[in-house]
């Protein structure tokens, strides 16, 4: 009996937020007051809140509804991973804005345990996220070549993924502005 198994896949969590209206409202207050700047080292790719990733918008702006919602999704994800959930901190969070022609280069989130993105403002053709294989051997393989996985998401959706998983965002080809909230989570390490 023939069987083909896929071993060691990389888990990607995707969900609509339950408290959509309240969360959108919470974010709307933040978005209107945030100064957006381009990172001069990245070229003309996209706009970031305060121009960098060093702030923690979720904490600074007390986005409590989102934080509470996020907790339940992180717990669900951890259950699925058979990882016993433990305390964590959102160590940084930022907003990214994509006007027509903007994109995001391929990057990872360093030592973050779980990273995520919430789509506050999103429509068709304004730039899908794509992930790059974390297995470099497959990138140079003739028959196991599987370099990118593209995902079409909707406004109000939340993605969670390993911080090490490289990803990028395709060009926004619409006249609409695309706005997303990204964050990095670190679980508490126990130090004896």
């Amino acid at each position: 009996m023939t069987s083909i198994a896929e071993l060691f896949g990389t888990p990607l969590y995707r969900s609509k937020v339950n408290n959509y209206d309240e969360i959108q409202k919470e974010f709307s207050y933040v978005v209107k007051d945030i100064p957006f700047e381009k990172n001069p080292y990245y070229g003309q790719d996209n706009y970031l809140s305060h121009g960098d990733f060093n702030r923690n918008i979720i904490k600074e702006c007390m986005l409590l509804k989102f934080e509470e919602e996020l907790k339940s999704h992180v717990e669900l994800f951890c259950d699925n991973l058979n990882f016993k959930s433990r305390s964590y901190s959102i160590r940084n969070s930022w907003i990214a804005k994509f006007e027509k022609g903007n994109y995001a280069h391929i990057h990872d989130h360093g030592s973050s345990d779980i990273s995520g993105v919430y789509y506050y403002k999103k429509c068709d053709n304004d730039g899908n996220i794509f992930f790059q294989s974390p297995v470099p051997q497959s990138e140079s393989s003739m028959c196991f070549w599987n370099p990118h996985f593209e995902l079409s998401v909707e406004q109000g959706e939340l993605l969670l993924f390993p911080g090490y998983l490289k990803h990028g965002i395709h060009v926004n080809e619409t006249e609409e502005t695309r706005i997303s909230f990204s964050f990095d989570i670190s679980f508490i390490r126990v130090v004896d």
Binding site: T2, L7, T10, L12, R14, K16, V135
Partner: protein, 187 residues
């Protein structure tokens, strides 16, 4: 409604081959001189510890060749890889006596590698694969360990040549004999 999708998994093919394949190895098993690779310690026995001998060049192995061809085509179809001519560029037998095991290794530049279980019973050591994602190996919450793949006598496993694997210890009193090979598609 939440959804979790596993992306970028590494494909592994398994099938049980026609019993006639076993007969192909009557002659090779009669003629083989088992030796350990002196540089590996007391791990297991090989038909040629230098890997220079090629079973397919020494013996007809017609049934085995046909079965490899048939299963390789099925595997390639599942990978959406357009079929092309290939070469079985190396092949050898490995024997694991009680207490023997196989260290974790890969098959270098081989496109697809495979193992056929000529003699296999319970507790004589299953093959395991190591996560090909280094980052997962050092992750707190994402699994990056080893996965054991139990197989039975007559079974064939096909996998990427770069996929690291090893063999758990033979804890039985029976010898375990497998045939390994490396495939390269024509460039």
């Amino acid at each position: 409604m939440s959804n979790i999708e596993n992306i970028f998994g590494t494909p592994l093919y398994y099938n049980v081959l026609d019993e006639e394949v076993q007969k192909d190895f009557d002659e090779p098993l009669e003629n083989v001189t088992w030796e350990m690779n002196p540089q590996w310690g007391q791990t297991h026995y090989l038909s040629d510890p230098t890997f220079k001998e090629h079973l397919f060049e020494m013996y007809p192995l017609d049934n085995f060749r046909k079965e490899i061809d048939k299963n390789l085509k099925l595997f390639c179809k599942s990978l959406n890889f357009n079929w092309r001519p290939y070469t079985i560029r190396s092949s050898w037998m490995a024997m694991f006596k009680k207490g023997n095991w196989g260290h974790c290794h890969h098959h270098g530049t081989s496109d697809i590698s495979g193992v056929y279980y000529l003699k296999k019973s319970r507790d004589d050591g299953d093959i395991y694969f190591e996560s090909p994602c280094i980052q997962a190996q050092t992750s707190l919450c994402f699994f990056g360990g080893n996965m054991v793949v139990p197989a039975k006598q007559g079974g064939l496993i096909l996998f990427p040549g770069w996929f690291k694997h090893g063999i758990n210890m033979n804890n039985s009193d029976k010898d375990r004999i497998s045939v390994s090979f490396d495939i390269t598609f024509n460039r």
